[in-house]
């Protein structure tokens, strides 16, 4: 099972995402931001847009990465059903690319925040969450400066109605996200954006838990079934 992991200039958690794929039993395939072409994604069972500060988060987080050549290949593939997980900065890129609704804005308390965050997995029929049980509570590392999820009320209502809120913050809303939203998916469930970092929760002795691993095993299992 091969999962592409994109490196933009300024990506930081690309190595961590590759490690997580490996520990989940898959084979990570590095993808370079400047790569493009029809065959780029052939043979890949999914793509991860990792955390970091692509292009320094200048202008708006994800706004410059969204126009990179590799996204030119990923956007149509995602629309056609390729599983894509955007973590933190990757989530921001997915929103800027309009693969997911809404936007991520500066934390309401105005500070970067790194903490171990309790989440509830709300939806387990996406490509990236099928190995969780519905309503499962998990502890995942969170670290962001611009992690506040916002969308207009109609969009939020639609997301709720269609069950597209993938994960919600519990106990503490760490960044002012509307309706405590930590992650959302597209209607089909193949594209998921997540603000917390499951790739930091896959190895004993490092990170707050092992609760991140199911995100990566989910997509590998789906690839087997497909």
């Amino acid at each position: 099972m091969r999962i592409g992991v994109v490196t933009f200039p300024g990506s930081l958690d690309d190595g961590d995402a590759q490690r997580a794929v490996r520990l989940a039993g898959g084979e990570p395939v590095p993808l370079w931001h400047a790569d493009s072409g029809d065959t780029l994604l052939h043979g890949l069972d999914g793509v991860i847009l990792p955390g970091g500060f692509s292009y320094g988060d200048y202008l708006r987080c994800g706004a410059i990465a969204r126009f990179s050549p590799v996204m030119g290949a990923i956007i149509p593939a995602a629309q056609a059903g390729l599983p894509v997980l955007g973590i933190c900065n990757g989530f921001q890129v997915l929103c800027e690319s309009h693969l997911l609704p809404g936007a991520l804005v500066r934390n309401d308390h105005q500070q970067f925040l790194c903490r171990d965050q309790l989440l509830r997995i709300e939806r387990t029929d996406t490509a990236w969450t099928s190995d969780f049980t519905p309503g499962q509570e998990v502890l995942i590392a969170l670290k962001n400066g611009e992690g506040g999820y916002v969308a207009d009320e109609a969009t939020l209502d639609e997301l709720e109605a269609e069950g597209r809120v993938v994960a919600r913050y519990l106990e503490v809303n760490p960044n002012g996200s509307r309706r405590d939203i930590a992650g959302v998916s597209n209607a089909r469930g193949n594209v998921v954006g997540l603000m917390p970092h499951p790739e930091h929760c896959v190895e004993a002795g490092f990170g707050p838990s092992l609760d991140g691993l199911p995100f990566f095993t989910s997509v590998l299992r789906q690839a087997v079934l497909a």
């Binding site: 200039p9 300024g10 930081l12 958690d13 190595g15 961590d16 490690r19 955390g51 970091g52 500060f53 292009y55 320094g56 988060d57 200048y58 500070q111 970067f112 925040l113 790194c114 903490r115 590392a141 670290k143 400066g145 970092h197 790739e199 930091h200 190895e203 004993a204 002795g205 490092f206 990170g207």
Partner: protein, 763 residues
Amino acid sequence: MTAVHVDTVAAASGDPDREQPWAELGLRADEYARIREILGRRPTSSELAMYSVMWSEHCSYKSSKVHLRQFGEKTTDQMREQLLVGIGENAGVVDIGEGWAVTFKIESHNHPSYVEPYQGAATGVGGIVRDIMSMGARPLAVMDPLRFGALDHPDTARVLPGVVAGIGGYGNCLGLPNIGGEVVFDSCYQGNPLVNALCVGALRAEDIHLAKASGTGNKVVLFGARTGGDGIGGVSVLASETFEDAGPSKRPSVQVGDPFAEKVLIECSLELYAAGVVDGIQDLGGAGLSCATSELASNGDGGMRVQLDRVPLRDSSLTPEEILMSESQERMMAIVRPEHLEGFLAITDRWEVEATVLGEVTDGDHLQVYWHDDLVVDVPPRSVAHDGPVYERPLARPGYLDELQAHNTRVLPRPVGGPGLREDLLALLGSPDGCDLSWVTQQYDRYVRGNTARAMPDDAGVVRVDEETGRGVALATDCNGRFAKLDPYAGAQLALAEAYRNVATTGARPLAVSDCLNFGSPEDPGVMWQFAQAVTGLADGCQQLGVPVTGGNVSFYNQTGDTAIHPTPVVAVLGVVDDVADTNGSGWSLPGQSLYLLGRTREELDGSAWAHVVHAHLGGRPPRVDLAAEERLAGTLLAASRAGLVHSAHDLSAGGLAVALAEGVLRHDIGATVSLAGLRERDGVDDFAALFSESTARVLVAVPPEHAEAFEELCAAEGQEVLALGTTGSEGPESLVVEGAFQVSAAELRTAHSGVIEAALAS
């Protein structure tokens, strides 16, 4: 466009008596005379710029050199065995086994952080990371020991948030986990905050790179960000002299960091190293191109010729002098063989990093800098980079010291009974230095790269170096400025002892030291005496513990008017761990563990957190230094950790046993039930001293009950004093129970401990 008048070597020879602004540039009359003597003529304005900045205290260590020599002289052959690169390079390199080498260094960025806290602190991180990169290493993590004025002072509300946001803003964006440091508040740092930054990196031992320009015909390549007018406020005197009419408005003295550019520069440089296309490398930091060119040439075996007009500029109005002095960030200089140049440029292209060939290594012995066709610098590089002035500044033991040392804590009223002890414990936990630091640490990414095994609030930061074997390093930085004020020799050794002990508590074997020596003005004989004492103390201590100083930094002039900061020799100790996943945390996560106190307690309250917080008192003599006991303690902890006998281990320092117990409880909200009877009996101390004394060489260890006997036997075999205090956990709600004295719930401890910084900043 303004006409730029360029002062050339030819002009300098033809116009020997021209007045030059050497005093405005900070040079002394004898220094200027010496430059003329070296050159056999007056310097050009570009040469004057180079000498003035390279002979500054900051770059030349002219006041500290005669003392710093001790670090080398007191490094024994045995200590040198694990030292791959010692003092003098960008950073020292230590062999940690399995073919891995680790490089680390701590540096100050104090004054810039006072002027512009965010950018000052940010570029401090950027600078130390480039030092580590220029050894050929991949940076792994950063740490930041910080000192501010009083927490309730209005200016602290400006400096503290800016510094913390700047460190986070730069380090987080760079993708380096921040794994520890210190935060200290003391009015002595008002107006002189200390922002020290440490970076640690790793490389394969055979891949070490050095700042050295060798091989005639090899290319000198500048790569990274463009050069602007950053940080050259001081040379404007030259600009105003050379600009015929009004030149650029004002040169900023503030440098602005671009962490994104630095991240790209890191990845690009590592790819360059891996491709084998770099022969020599130097980062551009203080003194910019002046420093990089003269150091590379001085360390090499030939000369260097550089075409300064090829430097890519952000501001086209910069003069040659300004380009030489600019401290624009995120720049590196490489020495590249001609046959490797194409490969080099292909890699910089791939990363979209601008790279420019400025010149080449020559077979001469001079550094020659051209501005178009004019020779503007023609100097022996060693005279700029290494043979600067050296001063033996006068020293004098400060007159106040006798009185200060006599004014000890015996006069202070002590808490009475259990309720009094309990109240003082809560006061310490809620004090600015004793409180929960999460407001600071949660602004730093500690997880990025996925190799962080331990970070704040554990005693030391621990990161994995080898993903296959788990081998890694533990790092701690420490200094108690109050102790150093009372006795700088002992204070430096106490800083060393504490950092060494903090590394040992994780189960790591301490290996090497880096230091950041923050002091007042070297022109004050009292300050110079403190400095000499501290350096001697540290060098003697390192020799005794067998851990070499691998490099570091001196920061002088941290004073306002005649009032200097407390002498603050911050010591960083690095240790090696076989498998980072097995290290000890500082608090217990299970009830029913046996709690032991290692080490002996004496009544030592002078300079303590208790005296400072409860009585605002500073006087007397600091705790006794016992490095033999520290070494024995570290040996015991290492042996016990390797044998798998340790559940958690926490160093006793500020606030003594009382604070160590409370922090152990707070770590995972598991209580503790202890008795002080054994301690009273064995060490002859009362409950107050047992709880608040700051005797050194002590650690609180939690041991799984099934290993208690083996642990006691191991301590006996090591000759280590050990005393059973009680167990983790408590009856009823999780609490700290000190039998016969007091008890306090974890919830109440937390209430006192948390929200202190937030509340102070909000008021």
